[in-house]
Symmetry: C2
């Protein structure tokens, strides 16, 4: 048994946080995954109090990382503080892409590794674990040079497992024939910090960021992922995290109900 379903806020991006929290309580959802921009807009202390008073857990905060940006160090230290304020032990890191006009992907990956190393002391001091999230290779140039679970695990291995783990998102990893062995290896190393469900649907929209499908809408064997992650020893929350204009344009309660049903169908 995992800890249960968590609604990642990005799935219902236009649902105001206070309504989202009330909706989760009404639906019996135990946890939410939050995003920094939305939290900042609401006020992080106010958000923390709202969620705590509602009895909800915060499964993760998205996102730190983007290490190709000049202010990555200060920004990620702020992200760690925000995670601590919100009472979550997991900060998801999306590494960032290639800086400027660079073609040096190896160099960019080394920088990600160094940057995470620089943040470990702050993360440990705050009781927040850094969860390296490999994104689909179609985001490699502009968003995340960490493109496989294998790469994420390699970077994590240099640090204590209570400080650095990985985030397993079905949308990003389903195509990789090595992912099953890597999930098992991540489990043995105690590295699975977060688990997120989304489905792969086609055609992809322009820019490809908002192309995810709700669980069950696409071609990903989500049950196989949930079983693999469970067999690897993961017992945390299972987030549903879908970015899609069609999903965002629907009422929050309807999307929440469908996301929760997706969790029950594939990962409960």
């Amino acid at each position: 048994m995992n800890k249960g379903f968590s609604l990642n806020q990005a799935t219902t991006k236009r649902w105001p946080l206070d309504e989202l929290v009330a909706g989760c309580v009404a639906a019996g959802v135990p946890a939410v995954g939050l995003w920094r921009e939305e939290v900042a807009e609401f006020g992080s202390d106010k958000a923390a109090a709202l969620i705590r008073d509602a009895g909800l857990a915060v499964s993760s905060l998205c996102r730190g990382g983007f290490f190709h940006e000049a202010d990555w160090y200060d920004d990620n230290r702020r992200a760690i503080e925000e995670a601590a304020t919100l009472g979550t032990d997991t900060l998801v890191l999306v590494s960032g892409g290639l800086p400027g006009k660079s073609r040096d992907i190896d160099g960019a990956r080394r920088h990600v590794s160094d940057a995470i190393g620089a943040l470990v002391p702050d993360a440990r001091a705050a009781g927040v674990r850094l969860a390296i999230e490999p994104l689909h290779p179609m985001f490699c140039a502009d968003r995340c040079v960490v493109a496989t679970l294998g790469q994420a695990l390699e970077i994590a291995a240099a640090h204590p497992s209570d400080a650095v783990g990985v985030c397993i998102d079905t949308y990003h990893l389903w195509w990789d024939d090595q992912v099953w062995d890597q999930i098992a290896a991540a489990g043995r190393a105690g590295r699975i910090a977060a688990f997120q469900l989304a489905d792969w649907i086609t055609p992809l929209p322009a820019g490809v960021l908002l192309g995810r499908g709700m669980p069950g809408a696409g071609c990903v064997d989500l049950r196989r992922f949930a079983t693999a992650v469970h067999d690897a020893g993961y017992r945390g929350y299972v987030e549903v995290e879908v970015f899609h204009e069609d999903v965002w344009s629907r009422p929050g309660p309807s999307v929440l109900a469908e996301a929760y049903a997706g969790y029950r169908a594939f990962a409960a």
Copy 2:
């Protein structure tokens, strides 16, 4: 030294074949890579004679594969015949995606392997080598379940190297940190059947098929690829293969000149 530059016809999709051939002769280009649809439209015997009389080589024919389709066997046997008619020894295979509403990616990959095995006798009889092309993982669902060079090599390994090889396309493989070892392994096994240059540019367009950049326009370390492929022993033609609406809307001679310059800059 490789055999030189080859213009893949898809780069100048709207350039009529007779003009394309004349343009290649005028520019001193030794070879072209062809596509079945365009060849069929022109007439394959007529195309073969035109190209032969112009003194051009045909570096490859695109594409066989699409093994998720019902008529894959007959269609691929026709593709092998067409390759032989055109006088090329290389038929590029794009494996096809998941059939129907399937979530069984392992099953789809096994089917690709079986299908290639079924075609090997025809290919050998025709003197045509099947070149398995891994496509970028963003095409895994609907176009090509073979998503890495490692997978392509694994499928090829079951067959003689003169019958089944791989096609290395920079656009599809640049994100993969394992690709350098795999190119070296492909060379040792005598499996490199084709090498194609295209660059990665963002943002991707809707549907993502027509998002490629001309060599030098993007973030791929093309010289590193050309060096790795050369060091692995490949001495064949180097095709430039770019699909992009902006490129297609330009006059053929201008695109040819830019593609040839890209070859000279990165792979000559």
